[in-house]
């Protein structure tokens, strides 16, 4: 499907995401203006503060957005009983975007006002204007062109940065981009990127026109007009703030997921199971990037999501890898209870670990069953590994040592390309993900990790203890899924979404229906 077909087929969704995007940009830039302009003005009155404050704004701009999100999510900052910073969703995205927008606005306000001809300022003072009068009647109107130029830069930056807001479930065109990256689907990536680029160009053009009109025939800011505009902005900001920040009066069960296909499918399975078995309303907060799902769970923004035991052990608890699955499960269970007040429910029954894969006909011809069987052929074989596998502590180096392997050649390439390379005979063995849908589709065979080198990554729902106390039926409902998903089933569901482009919601529903008929007989 090409881009235009996609956009016209999804008109309503594209419009919705564009509106969400505009909302994020408008509110965050509005907040940055309300903070940055007065701050920039204050700095012209106290130049000694300009270095530390401009320095701070400068540093804010260099903080990577995922790191900033991770820092903001656990915060709980209230203004008049309304939470203004913290948690996942639009609120935190807006706070982060506003922080990114501050620098150009403060800087331009500061330099714009300082750039007013000193003779004009002196004339105003000599005529007996108070500092306020001088500021509002002379300095700000004359600096307006430069200030608007700063707002313009901030807005264009915000349009671009807002695509990352999708990582914390704040919506916007980033949803398409993230989904497209995950599914390796260029059309989807463009469906997010092209409208975002058009938005940036439009914002640049419109604010450029405003800047031009102020820069040239700079007119006096009519006082009445200025007050009308200012009160309109403040009123709009207040209304929007109440809508955004005061959400979710009725307590629902919030289900999260990380930002890859398998996680979204599992999120749907969890959500639909809770809906079907408890009747509680469920809120879906999917596609959380990096470790943000964990941050959101601990912060109480979501109640449950599916985690992998190995990831929890090494990436979250920062403990050394272990190979015994039961031992790992015990460790993470007790550590999570003690550190986070989060409980691990029953494992789903599949392990999403590294899978050493060979072509099906090789396996049959050579009688390969375990990784140890490969040692004999390795000196004549070429191996293809993803960058991640080559670099991580439980990856390539330990793997070849554990099995005493020596390959004729090792090619390092993007993980998604290794499957195709193996199927086409360009390499003879790869390390894939055990639940990847392509394994079945391309007729590949996973060899058994007979020396138990790879740590287990068993998929298990994790849930907040206070949620279990409040709604114990949720725990019971999810434990009904214990051992219910095999590696093979997970592979098929992943392929249904990535390969057949079906909706995760439908794939999950179909799976649950099949389980029910199987169980019900």
């Amino acid at each position: 499907m090409n881009l235009w077909q996609f956009l016209s087929a999804h008109r309503a969704e594209v419009a919705q995401l564009t509106l969400e995007h505009l909302f994020l940009v408008a509110v965050s830039t509005g907040i940055a203006v309300l903070i940055g302009v007065p701050l920039g003005i204050a700095l012209t009155r106290r130049p000694a503060l300009s270095r530390p404050i401009l320095g701070f704004a400068n540093i804010m701009q260099t903080v990577p957005s995922l790191a900033l999100f991770g820092f903001l999510i656990p915060l709980n900052i209230y203004l008049f009983h309304v939470r203004i910073i913290g948690g996942i969703g639009a609120r935190t995205a807006i706070a982060a975007l506003a922080l990114y927008s501050l620098l150009p606005i403060i800087r331009n306000t500061f330099t714009g006002i300082n750039g007013v001809d000193p003779a004009i300022r002196e004339a105003g003072r000599g005529l007996g204007m108070t500092d306020r009068q001088l500021l509002l009647q002379v300095e700000v109107p004359l600096a307006l062109g430069v200030i608007v130029a700063g707002i313009r830069v901030a807005t264009v930056i915000a349009v671009g940065t807002a695509t990352i807001a999708a990582a914390i479930d704040a919506g916007g065109l980033g949803r398409y981009i993230f989904r497209g990256l995950r599914m390796n689907d260029n059309t989807l990536i463009l469906a997010g990127a092209v409208p975002a680029a058009l938005l940036a160009l439009a914002a640049d053009f419109l604010l450029g026109a405003v800047e031009h009109s102020f820069g040239r025939g700079a007119r006096r800011l009519n006082r009445r007009h200025a007050y009308v505009v200012l009160s309109a902005v403040v009123a709009a900001a207040a209304v929007i703030a109440v809508f955004t920040f005061h959400s979710g009066a009725a307590r629902r069960i919030a289900v999260g997921s990380k930002d890859f296909t398998e996680q979204v499918i599992l999120g749907e399975i969890v959500a639909q199971t809770i809906e079907a078995r408890t009747g509680l309303p469920v809120e879906r907060r999917f596609d959380l990037g990096g470790n943000l799902a964990h941050d959101a769970l601990v912060a109480g923004e979501i109640d449950t999501y599916v985690e992998y035991t190995g990831t929890a052990l090494t990436a979250i608890l920062k403990l050394p890898p272990l190979s015994d699955a039961h031992e790992v499960f015990r460790r993470v269970k007790s550590e999570y209870a003690a550190r986070f007040h989060v409980a691990w429910l029953e494992p789903f029954g599949f392990n999403n670990t590294f899978a050493i894969l060979v072509r099906g006909d090789d396996a049959k011809k050579l009688g390969l069953k375990t990784i140890s069987d490969v040692a004999k052929y390795a000196p004549k074989w070429r191996a293809g590994f993803g960058q991640d596998f080559v670099s991580r502590p439980d990856g390539y180096e330990g793997f070849v040592r554990a099995y005493g392997l020596k390959f004729a050649a090792v090619r390092e390439m993007d993980l998604s390309l290794t499957y195709r390379a193996l199927a086409d005979g360009q390499v003879d063995v790869i390390a894939g993900n055990s639940t990847d849908g392509l394994i079945a589709r391309l007729g590949l065979v996973q060899l058994e990790d007979d020396r138990r080198y790879f740590p287990p990554y068993d998929a298990v729902p994790v849930i907040r203890e206070d949620t279990l106390r409040r709604a114990p039926e949720v725990g019971t409902a999810l434990n009904a899924l214990a051992g219910a998903i095999s590696v093979d089933e997970m592979r098929r569901m992943n392929f249904a979404v990535d390969g057949d482009k079906r909706a995760p919601r439908d794939v999950a529903e179909e799976f649950l229906r099949r389980k029910k008929t199987a169980a019900g007989g």
């Binding site: 004009i120 002196e122 004339a123 003072r125 005529l127 025939g217």
Partner: protein, 256 residues
């Protein structure tokens, strides 16, 4: 706010020293009577503008004091003080985003006059400085010549009819003929308005024409304070240098 004293402005041992110790003005002792026009004459950098800024409290003296209407400037509320003192700054400093009319109306507007009165006053002042209100009121400063802008600067300083006027080279950008015409007009204006004026120039002819008294500044000190006649009689080298400029021009013109 009239009071008994006939002195409008007095410098009492006033000096201004920069934080680094350099003296811009040293031991200024001057009294300017009500209705008098004192001309400050001096070379570039001699301290004329600085002297004016001590009067309307754009600067505070570091030594001695400056009295306006018998009260030290440091005891005046600077805003009230400046509203009583019209100031024509050397660089003109019109507000580029205001029309000519709005520029002239600044102080009356700050003082809260009603719009009809402001409008009437603006037309009156533009007439007074020789700018046709119908042609100029709605223009922006960039649409005026340098000399026209200077006249607007004078009108703006006069707007709220302040009893004291500080004029820093108000006619610097005019051609000699217009300049002479304006000086004559200004002289009759001076008599009609009866304001206390401190007028800065480095043009000796202008000083002689307009001054009740002249103060000649050199390196931040008053070299001579007196009436134009005292000036011609002085033997001080700086005075002689200035006077010879006046004679020099006439002699060059008279030479065959």
């Amino acid at each position: 706010m009239m009071n008994g004293s006939s002195i409008a402005i007095a410098f009492e041992g006033a000096g201004l020293r920069l934080p680094d110790g350099r003296a811009l003005l040293t031991e200024l002792d001057l009294s300017i009577a009500r209705g008098e026009t004192l001309v400050l004459l001096g070379r570039s950098g001699s301290g004329k503008t600085t002297t004016l800024k001590l009067i309307n409290r754009l600067l505070d003296p570091t030594e001695g004091r400056v009295l306006v209407e018998d009260k030290a400037t440091t005891e005046w509320d600077p805003i009230r003080l400046r509203r009583r003192i019209g100031y024509v700054i050397q660089e003109v400093g019109l507000f580029p985003h205001f029309t000519i009319e709005e520029n002239v109306a600044v102080v009356p507007r700050l003082e809260g006059w009603d719009p009809d009165r402001i409008q009437k006053r603006v037309r009156e002042l533009l007439d007074l400085v020789g700018l046709d209100p119908a042609r100029f009121a709605g223009r922006y400063p960039r649409e005026l010549s340098g000399g026209q802008r200077q006249r607007v600067g004078v009108a703006r300083a006069l707007a709220a009819d302040p009893p004291i006027m500080l004029l820093d080279e108000p006619f610097g950008a005019l051609d000699p003929i217009t300049r002479r015409e304006i000086q004559e007009e200004f002289r009759s204006l001076q008599r009609r308005l009866g304001k206390t004026m401190v007028f800065v120039t480095h043009d000796v002819g202008e000083a002689f024409l307009l001054a009740s008294r002249i103060a000649l500044l050199k390196d931040g000190r008053v070299v001579l304070l007196g009436r134009p006649a005292d000036f011609l009689a002085s033997r001080d080298p700086e005075v002689v240098a200035f006077v010879s400029c006046l004679r020099g021009a006439a002699e060059v013109a008279a030479a065959p």
